[in-house]
C-alpha cells in the first residue's frame, strides 16, 4: 500500500524506572524505545525509588526528564497514606493520581481506608484517578468513584468479569475509563507457562476466555497502554523474578497486525492510542506530530535491535506486519532508523487548563 501516516501514539502507562532502577531502564533508553515504537508521549508511573509522591520528587522527575527524554513525558503522582493534601496540590502538574490497591512491584500499596477516602475527597474532581485494581478492588474503586464523584481510570484490565463490571459501570453513568495492554490482548496463561518468568506480570496473564472477552468487549475499552515494566534478564532469571514485561517497542506492530487480521480498524486504533489518552488525561495535542509506518512490512518480533535497556520482549518470535519508519514530533524527525534527536528534546507535558 505504501506508507501509512498516523497520529503519534500516546502510552498512558509506562515505568521508565528512573530514579532508582536505572539498570533496568532510564528516561533516555525508555523514551528511545518509545520512539522506536511510534510513541511520542508516555505517562510515567510513580512507583520509583524514591516514589513520586510530593513536590520535591515531582520536581526531581521533571528535571531528569527535561535533561534526558527524547520523547514527551507526563507523570503520575503516587498516593500514600500521608499525602492526600500535597498530592492534590500537584494535580495540575501531573497526568493524574495513581493509587495501588493491590500489590505489585514498588513501594506504593494503599492499605488504609481513611487515607483512601481522603484521596477521593481531596483530589480535584476534574482530574483523573488511575488505579491498579484487580477483581474486587476494581469494584471497590468504582464504588468510591461514584460516591465521591471522581473520574476513575482502571489500569490494565485483564479479566472477563472486570470488563463486564466496567460495562455495567459505564451504563450506570459512572465516569469510568479503562485501559488494556497488548500482552493481555494477545497472550494467555498458556504463554505464561511457555515464557516462565518472562511471562510474569501484574495482573498475570489470564485464561483464553478472559482474552477473548477483552476483544469481544473492545467497545468498552477506552485506550491501549503497555504497562511497559522492564526488568533485566538477570532479575527475571533470579530466585524471585519481579513482575513486569516491556512493551513500548512492540505495541504498534502488534496493533497493526490486528488491523491486518481485521480484528481492529485503523480508525479505532487511532482512537485507542491517541485521542482517548489525550481526552482521559486532559493533555494538549502534540504539535506537528505523526508516525510513518510501512503497514505491509512483515517481520518477527525479537530481542535483536530493541532499544529498551532490558533487551527482551515477551513477544519473542511472534510474526507481525507493520514497521515504524519515521516519527515526527514538533515538525522534526525524531526517529528514522534510529533516534535522531538529543536527550532533552522531549518535553514535560502537563494538563491543558481551559478557561471558562
Amino acid at each position: 500500500m505504501g506508507t501509512l501516516k498516523l497520529p503519534g501514539l500516546i502510552d498512558a502507562h509506562v515505568h521508565l524506572r528512573e530514579p532508582g532502577g536505572e539498570h533496568k531502564e532510564d528516561i533516555t533508553s525508555g523514551s528511545a524505545a518509545a520512539l522506536a515504537g511510534g510513541v511520542v508521549l508516555v505517562l510515567d508511573m510513580p512507583n520509583t525509588y524514591p516514589p513520586i509522591v510530593d513536590a520535591g520528587t515531582l520536581a526531581l522527575k521533571r528535571r531528569l526528564a527535561e535533561e534526558k527524554a527524547v520523547c514527551d513525558i507526563g507523570f503520575f503522582v503516587g498516593a500514600t497514606e500521608t499525602n492526600p493534601a500535597e498530592a492534590a496540590g500537584l494535580a495540575w502538574q501531573a497526568a493524574g493520581l495513581k493509587i495501588y490497591l493491590d500489590q505489585t512491584y514498588g513501594p506504593l500499596r494503599m492499605h488504609n481506608l481513611a487515607a483512601l477516602l481522603a484521596h477521593f475527597c481531596t483530589w480535584p474532581a476534574d482530574r483523573p484517578i488511575a488505579v491498579h485494581a484487580e477483581g474486587l478492588s476494581a469494584a471497590m474503586a468504582i464504588g468510591l468513584a461514584r460516591i465521591y464523584g471522581r473520574r476513575l481510570h482502571l489500569c490494565h484490565v485483564s479479566r472477563a468479569n472486570e470488563i463486564a463490571l466496567i460495562r455495567a459501570a459505564k451504563e450506570s453513568g459512572a465516569a469510568v475509563t479503562c485501559e488494556v495492554t497488548p500482552h493481555h490482548l494477545l497472550l494467555t496463561e498458556a504463554d505464561a507457562e511457555r515464557l516462565g518468568p518472562y511471562g510474569g506480570m501484574k495482573p498475570p496473564l489470564a485464561a483464553e476466555a478472559d482474552r477473548a472477552a477483552l476483544w469481544a468487549n473492545l467497545d468498552v475499552v477506552d485506550c491501549i497502554a503497555t504497562d511497559h515494566a522492564p526488568h533485566t534478564r538477570a532479575e527475571k532469571e533470579g530466585a524471585t523474578p519481579p513482575p513486569g514485561v516491556p512493551g513500548l517497542e512492540t505495541m504498534l506492530p502488534l496493533l497493526l497486525t490486528a488491523v491486518a487480521d481485521r480484528r481492529l480498524t485503523l480508525e479505532r486504533l487511532v482512537q485507542l492510542t491517541h485521542y482517548a489518552p489525550l481526552r482521559i488525561f486532559g493533555l494538549p495535542e502534540p504539535a506537528e506530530c505523526w508516525v510513518e509506518v510501512d503497514p505491509d512490512a512483515r517481520h518477527t518480533l525479537g530481542s535483536a535491535g530493541l532499544l529498551t535497556r532490558c533487551g527482551w520482549t515477551p513477544f519473542e518470535g511472534m510474526p507481525v506486519v507493520g514497521k515504524v519508519r519515521r516519527v515526527v514530533l514538533r515538525g522534526q524527525t525524531v526517529f528514522e532508523g534510529q533516534v535522531r534527536v538529543q536527550p532533552g528534546f522531549g518535553r514535560v507535558v502537563v494538563p491543558a487548563r481551559h478557561e471558562g
Binding site: G2, L4, K5, L6, E267, V270
Partner: protein, 327 residues
C-alpha cells in the same frame, strides 16, 4: 484501470493541516501529487480565494520568510509567489536580478541554497537547467518549491491549471482536454498532461509536426491508460472539447528563426473557432499570449485565462501554507 503514479501515502486520524502530506516536503514534480492530496490542496485554495476576496489577507504565515530565487526572468510567477506569501502575512526575500547576487561571482547553486535557507523557511526556485530543483532539494534542509527548471517541470503551473479546470467545470473526470501549440518545449503542457493522468480524461494533442509532444510524455499518458490522439488541426476536435489549453509558440526555444517563423501563427483561437465549441467549456492559456488567442475572445465567458492567472495566487497560497504545515 491504470495505476496512478505512486506517492501512496494514506493518513488516518491526523489533524487537517497534517493530512495533506505536504508538510516539510519539497515540491519538485507533479509526480508527487495524488487525487487525495490534490483534493485537499484545492479545498484549501478555495478557502484562500474566499479569504482573499473577503478581507484581502490573513496572518496564517506571519513570521515565516520565503526566499524567491529566480535565475530566469518571470514577472508573472515570481510576483504570484510574492503576493501569495504577503497575503498570508509572511515576508519575502526576492532574488530576481540574479546578476546582482553572488551567483555571478561563481557561487554554486547548492551554496546559494544553503545560504538562503539560513534566512528563509522555504525557497522557491526557477532555474534554466532541467533537474536544478532536484539538486537544490538534495542539498537543502528547508523545503524547495520548483517554479520551473528549464524545459523540465513547472508543477505549480500544472496545479493552478488543474485547479482552474475543476473550479470552472466542477469536475475533471470525464473531460476531453486538448493541448495546442508548442507541445515539444512547453513544460506547462508536460506537467499538465502528467497530472491529468490521475483522472479519467481523454487528451488530444494539437501541434505542428516539429512541435509534437515528446515521446516520453506521450508514453506516460498511454501507460496510464488514458485515451489520446494527435492532430494538426484544432478544428478537428473543437466541437467535442471541454478544455482547450492553448500555449504560445516560444521564440526563445528556437535556435533557427526561420523554423520559428514557419510555425508561429499556425493557429488562432478566434470567434469563428469558438462558434464551433461547446457552450460549456473553457479556453485556458498559461500566459503571456501573443497572437494565438484573439483579443475578441476575452469577453467570451468561456475564456478562463485571466481567472486562471488569479487562481495561481490562491493555489500558491494553499501550497505555501500546506508545506509550512498550516493547512
Amino acid at each position: 484501470m491504470a495505476t496512478k503514479p505512486s506517492n501512496g501515502i494514506k493518513t488516518v486520524g491526523l489533524a487537517p493541516n497534517l493530512q495533506s502530506g505536504f508538510y516539510g516536503q519539497d515540491i519538485i514534480s507533479v509526480r508527487q501529487f495524488t487525487r487525495e492530496n490534490l483534493a485537499h490542496l484545492f479545498k484549501v485554495a478555495d478557502e484562500m480565494r474566499a479569504v482573499t476576496k473577503r478581507v484581502g489577507s490573513t496572518d496564517l504565515l506571519k513570521g515565516f520568510v520565503l526566499a524567491v530565487l529566480f535565475y530566469e526572468p518571470s514577472t508573472r510567477t515570481s510576483s504570484s509567489f510574492v503576493a501569495a506569501m504577503s497575503r498570508l502575512g509572511g515576508s519575502v526575500i526576492p532574488i530576481n536580478e540574479v546578476k546582482f547576487s553572488s551567483v555571478t561571482k561563481g557561487e554554486s547553486l547548492p551554496d546559494t541554497i544553503r545560504t538562503l535557507e539560513s534566512y528563509a523557511d522555504l525557497i522557491v526556485l526557477r532555474h534554466p537547467e532541467v533537474g536544478a530543483s532536484q539538486v537544490a532539494a538534495e542539498y537543502a534542509r528547508k523545503p524547495i518549491i520548483n517554479a520551473g527548471d528549464g524545459v523540465g517541470e513547472h508543477p505549480t503551473q500544472a496545479l493552478l491549471d488543474l485547479y482552474t479546470i475543476e473550479s470552472e467545470l466542477g469536475t475533471i473526470d470525464g473531460l476531453h482536454v486538448a493541448m495546442v501549440g508548442d507541445l515539444r518545449y512547453g513544460r506547462t503542457v508536460h506537467s499538465l498532461a502528467r497530472l491529468l493522468c490521475l483522472y479519467d480524461v481523454r487528451m488530444t494533442f494539437v501541434s505542428p509536426e516539429i512541435l509534437r509532444l515528446p515521446l516520453d510524455v506521450m508514453n506516460e499518458v498511454k501507460d496510464a491508460g488514458r485515451p489520446v490522439r494527435e492532430t494538426y488541426d484544432v478544428h478537428d476536435v473543437i466541437s467535442d472539447l471541454d478544455v482547450l489549453y492553448v500555449t504560445r509558440v516560444q521564440r526563445e526555444r528556437f535556435a533557427d528563426q526561420s523554423q520559428y517563423e514557419s510555425v508561429a501563427d499556425y493557429y488562432v483561437v478566434d470567434p469563428e473557432l469558438m462558434s464551433k465549441a461547446k457552450e460549456r467549456m473553457v479556453v485556458m492559456h498559461p500566459l503571456p499570449r501573443t497572437n494565438e488567442i484573439s483579443y475578441a475572445i476575452d469577453s467570451d465567458p468561456r475564456a478562463a485565462y485571466f481567472r486562471q492567472m488569479e487562481n495561481g495566487l490562491y493555489i500558491r497560497m494553499a501550497l505555501l501554507a500546506a508545506v509550512l504545515g498550516k493547512a
